[in-house]
């Protein structure tokens, strides 16, 4: 296989790189949506009484059980939601099911004893939640959440089946038109790698900055 550098000329690269906007837009909006819906799922599962908590658990399990590409196609063809909305909802809903898991396990990692301690000082349940639970859960969840972030970042490429003009779709388009797949695919593989590495180092940095000795670490 010959690597033809001329396939990577400036105009082709710029055409592909303009897709970064959509790649990042889909990532951030879906992660945000997943964070909101995911915390709702987690709270529903942890704090609601049995018949209702099951409903939240089942929603999460169903979303985790469906391949992402199928979720896209269902939203697009069965619900007629349009390209962008299907992409955002598909990524967002699936991410919600995983972020919910991450948030739930973080909440459960905090001992009931600390909640008792908060209440015994005279705090209200809301104060215990806000002052004790959330600050700890948020810290504990960062490493797991970092993984979820890069998963969503990479899986925006699957929205290519919907025709969203992200770097994957654009790369595929150029590759077809010039008949050189290898060079273009290697190039966007590099782009994804750089995006993933950058996000990871930013999030790891954040974790180091807010990390508290002994919190969320196994003794």
């Amino acid at each position: 296989m010959i690597f033809d550098v001329s396939a990577l000329n400036l105009s082709n690269l710029i055409y592909v790189l303009r897709g970064i906007f959509w790649t990042l837009f889909l990532t951030f909006v879906s992660i945000g949506l997943g964070l909101i819906l995911g915390s709702a799922l987690a709270f529903g599962e942890v704090y609601l009484p049995p018949p209702f908590s099951y409903i939240f658990r089942i929603i999460g399990e169903v979303l985790r059980g469906v391949p992402l590409i199928l979720l896209f196609l269902i939203l697009y063809f069965a619900f007629n939601l349009g390209m962008t909305l299907s992409a955002i909802l598909g990524l967002g809903l699936r991410s919600a099911s995983y972020q919910g898991q991450i948030f739930r396990s973080s909440l459960e990692a905090i001992s009931a004893g600390q909640l008792h301690a908060g209440l015994s000082l005279g705090m209200t349940k809301f104060q215990v939640f806000k002052e004790i639970l959330v600050p700890q859960a948020l810290r504990i969840m960062i490493p797991g959440w970092t993984n979820e972030f890069i998963t969503v970042l990479k899986d925006t490429s699957i929205a290519f089946v919907l025709g969203v003009m992200d770097i994957m779709t654009r790369a595929d388009f150029i590759a077809r038109s010039i008949g050189r797949y290898f060079e273009i695919y290697i190039f966007i593989a590099l782009v994804y790698f750089v995006l993933v590495k950058t996000s990871m180092s930013i999030l790891n940095n954040l974790y180091e900055r807010v990390r508290i000795p002994g919190l969320g670490e196994k003794r």
Partner: protein, 246 residues
């Protein structure tokens, strides 16, 4: 002497298992009372019911002659300190912040005032300045439990409940926690303590209550309870403790 806490005919069941079968007693200001008894006898449940961390099924609890109800429980808890078996410090806060959080969030004190009280409380239990900015995971068990005691006393409660405060500690760390509690007793703090430390009970308790199977079987001065137990059940329990089986 002024009565601080009165418990009347307190009952609590889990499923069909009746853990407290009608417990009554009272504590006056400045008194230290100790509860002893076998595991599963209802000691911890009794403490947890007093400040409604577990809701009693029936019976009354009076704090300074006022009946505690689900409505006034948040007010009541401010006046009832609680020290737990497993310390239960807030893991994301330093020793100093653990003591300050109740003063700031619950008592709404200004920060400088809260800081002053927190420092005094920590010094009282022997936690010196070099440890104030340590997180719980950076402290030994004995230090953590003393911070937990400081957290309770900083709120200037009317009474502090201790739930086996030394039973999760390594032997060599028990002494420092008991010493801190002794200091409180000498300062006139009203305390209700569940413990297996009989020597300690002897030296600080005004009264010892023997709780078994959900009832107070026997109560009296440390002399009466430890040296001259009347009931067979208490004798059996004391000999078990002496053998290190409880």
């Amino acid at each position: 002497m002024k009565e601080v806490l009165r418990v009347e005919n307190l009952k609590k069941s889990y499923h069909k298992n009746e853990v407290l079968k009608g417990v009554s007693f009272s504590i006056n200001e400045g008194e230290t009372k100790v509860i002893i008894g076998p595991s599963g006898g209802g000691k911890s449940t009794l403490l947890y019911c007093i400040n409604y961390l577990q809701k009693p099924d029936s019976g009354e609890i009076y704090l300074d002659s006022e009946l505690i109800t689900p409505k006034n429980i948040y007010e009541a808890r401010k006046k009832i300190g609680f020290v737990f078996q497993y310390f239960n410090l807030f893991m994301h806060l330093t020793a100093l912040d653990n003591v300050m959080i109740g003063l700031i969030k619950v008592k709404k004190l200004p920060k400088d005032e809260a800081l002053k009280i927190a420092k005094e409380s920590l010094l009282l239990v022997g936690i010196k300045e070099d440890l104030w900015n340590h997180y719980p995971a950076q402290l030994s068990g004995g230090q953590q439990q003393r911070v937990a005691i400081a957290r309770a006393i900083a709120m200037s409660p009317r009474i502090i409940l201790f739930d086996e405060p030394t039973s999760a500690l390594d032997v060599e760390l028990i002494g420092e926690v008991l010493q801190a509690m002794k200091t409180l007793a000498e300062n006139g703090m009203t305390m209700l303590i569940v413990t297996h430390e009989l020597e300690f009970a002897k030296s600080v308790a005004h009264e010892i209550m023997f709780l078994e199977s959900g009832v107070i079987v026997e109560k009296g001065t440390p002399q009466e309870i430890i040296e001259h137990p009347k009931s067979e059940r208490l004798k059996k329990f004391l000999s078990k403790i002496a053998k290190g089986e409880e």
